[in-house]
């Protein structure tokens, strides 16, 4: 049972990484395409800008969910790491519950925002409802929720192979 769940969350984790990675890849191609159409073709495409912003929102919320599982988020550990084991566990449990509340907020209020704005359209791309551009918020929130539950039930999974396969270089190298 435990292994099956972990296998599923591994897949979910990799999906988040690949969705985010693909978003940033496509983003870095279509912005230059916009420049190309403006200066070379002289047509000036309108769609690269809103599409890139959408991809950035996708990147942010799926990537942040994955980063939660990898334990990559910035947190202040100065106080908690000096505590004895008992209170330390208590704090960690409390953080899990509070994280859960934020993830629930993202899922519920994010969905609400999507539904309320589904009828409106983006000016530059008429077929795209505004609500669709907010979809990554509740989806990312929901995936974070799953990872938090996994953390509460099965413990920290940031040491798994799928999460650490890039670790031979110094972590945090990009920032």
């Amino acid at each position: 049972m435990k292994n099956n769940i972990l296998r599923l969350t591994d897949i979910l984790y990799l999906a988040c990484i690949w969705i985010s990675g693909a978003s940033i890849f496509v983003m870095s191609l279509i912005i230059p395409w916009g420049i190309f159409t403006r200066y070379v073709l002289g047509t000036g495409s309108q769609w690269p800008e809103p599409i890139s912003i959408l991809l950035m929102v996708v990147f942010t919320f799926f990537g942040a969910a994955a980063a939660y599982r990898a334990g990559a988020h910035i947190a202040v550990a100065m106080v908690t790491e000096r505590l004895p084991a008992g209170p330390k566990r208590l704090m960690a449990g409390l953080v899990d519950v509070l994280m859960l509340s934020v993830a629930v907020f993202m899922t519920v209020y994010g969905s609400k925002l999507c539904m309320e704005t589904w009828g409106q359209n983006i000016g530059e791309i008429p077929w795209m409802p505004v609500g669709a551009t907010y979809l990554p918020v509740p989806l990312g929130g929901f995936i974070t929720l799953i990872f938090i539950l996994e953390h509460m039930v099965l413990g920290y999974q940031g040491q798994r192979d799928v999460v650490t396969f890039d670790h031979e270089k110094i972590e945090g190298g990009a920032l």
């Binding site: 940033i24 890139s52 942010t60 953080v95 918020v137 990009a174």
Partner: protein
């Protein structure tokens, strides 16, 4: 009382170890509940916070820097710096600092700078007779240049945190002279130390070889020409120039340098996604925190507090410097820019400080925070690369802290250092 609920809950959540981004979001929710604002408004402010075209510049600049840093750029920049300054006494220390100056021109990340330049130069310096803790201290303190020298994604974050009213181009140009001043100050200090402790001289590199090294490095350094040239000439926006920089970085590392293997790309993507997404979501949640802060009129109250202590510009700036330095030792740069800019910018503009100038003051302060304990990301990376205990690196860093403080004072009290270049080039 309002301020106490919002800031107090944020502080409490941080202390128990909640990730900063989510702690910002949750305390915004608590604040909204306290002053009867519907949670929908918080959701809208988060969505609006990440829905900006100018925000795109951040992932692009970071990605371009990461591609270059891992694609063999640092080795070439070190070689280039050796050609220019390697032959004097203490030459390798100067090479280290100058390589960081160049690195700053392709990436805004001190951490990437320390990791990649440090792994090339710390062993090399030790082999040539420099103490390892000194080599690490030079690497770590030199890497602060990356934050100042354009392109700097932290400058983009500042521009966003300032409400988008401060031009990214102006911030980029403003960072040039403070960045160079920092490099120069460190270099002069290293020359003195080298003479006193009799560090070795390097060899002069033969002309023909030197030329090849220069050409090799120029491919990478073109990145900055593309970025600044594009923005200043008005051909690209900052975001567009950042996207072009990604393509250029990719082209140079994969087609010209060819150090990086294609099958290692997933690792690069994985690392970049993790490190970038946490900054991006931080920006989103910080927007909701800032929204509640504005509704509670906290920035006005803080401005009142500061000006009630003193209305002297220099005294207020000194207080802010102390505050930022202390906060910087405890927390990372991006969250501090996002939280402190909306609070402090009204204070400094009320006493007549230019927002661009204040941006530079903030960058130097928080950059110093990255290399000071107890929490200093760059310091940790430096110690890890050198395989030294953090305390030993900190001890070796003492004289360097002095040099950095000197630069901080110059940047704070000589506004022209930051403002002259943007005024001269941006009409």
């Amino acid at each position: 009382m309002d301020a106490f609920v919002l800031l107090g809950s944020f502080l409490g959540l941080m202390i128990i170890g909640m990730p900063v981004a989510y702690a910002l979001g949750l305390s915004a929710l608590i604040g909204a509940w306290w002053i009867d604002i519907p949670f929908d408004a918080i959701m809208i402010s988060i969505a609006a916070g990440v829905n900006k075209f100018s925000l795109l510049a951040i992932p692009f600049f970071v990605l371009a820097g990461a591609i270059m840093a891992e694609g063999g750029m640092s080795r070439r920049l070190v070689a280039f710096a050796s050609v220019l300054v390697g032959f004097v006494r203490g030459g390798l220390a100067l090479v280290n600092i100058l390589a960081s100056t160049f690195f700053g021109a392709i990436s805004g990340s001190s951490m990437a700078d320390t990791a990649s330049i440090g792994s090339v130069l710390i062993p090399e310096m030790e082999k040539k007779g420099y103490p390892r803790d000194f080599a690490t201290a030079v690497t770590v303190s030199g890497s602060v240049q990356a934050i100042l020298i354009p392109p700097s994604h932290n400058a983009v974050i500042y521009s966003l945190a300032a409400g988008g009213s401060v031009s990214i181009a102006a911030l980029f140009l403003a960072g040039v002279l403070p960045g160079l001043l920092l490099g120069l100050t460190l270099a002069v200090m290293c020359l003195f130390i080298a003479r006193k402790r009799d560090f070795p001289k390097g060899k002069r590199i033969p002309m023909k070889e030197a030329l090849l090294i220069c050409v090799d490095a120029l491919w990478g350094l073109m990145t900055m020409v593309i970025i600044l040239g594009g923005i200043l000439s008005g051909i690209f926006t900052a975001t567009e120039s950042a996207a072009i920089a990604v393509i250029w970085a990719f082209f140079v590392t994969m087609c010209i340098y060819r150090d990086y293997k294609w099958n290692e790309l997933p690792k690069l993507v994985h690392r970049t996604v993790k490190t970038l997404a946490i900054v991006m979501i931080l920006i989103g949640f910080a927007a909701s925190f800032g929204y509640i802060m504005t509704l509670m009129q906290i920035p006005q109250q803080i401005t009142g507090l500061f000006t009630s202590i003193s209305d002297n510009k220099y005294a207020v700036l000194m207080m802010i410097n102390v505050l930022l330095l202390v906060l910087g030792t405890l927390m990372d740069m991006a969250p501090l820019i996002l939280i402190m800019t909306p609070i402090l910018l009204p204070v400094v503009t009320s006493i007549g400080v230019d927002p661009v100038h204040f941006g530079m003051i903030m960058m130097v302060n928080l950059g110093m925070g990255l290399i000071t304990p107890p929490v200093g990301g760059v310091l940790f990376v430096g110690a890890a690369v050198a395989k030294l205990p953090i305390e030993r690196v900190v001890k070796a860093l003492y004289p360097f802290f002095g040099a950095l403080l000197l630069v901080l004072m110059a940047v704070t009290y000589i506004p022209a250092l930051s403002l002259w270049l943007p005024a001269a080039l941006l009409k």
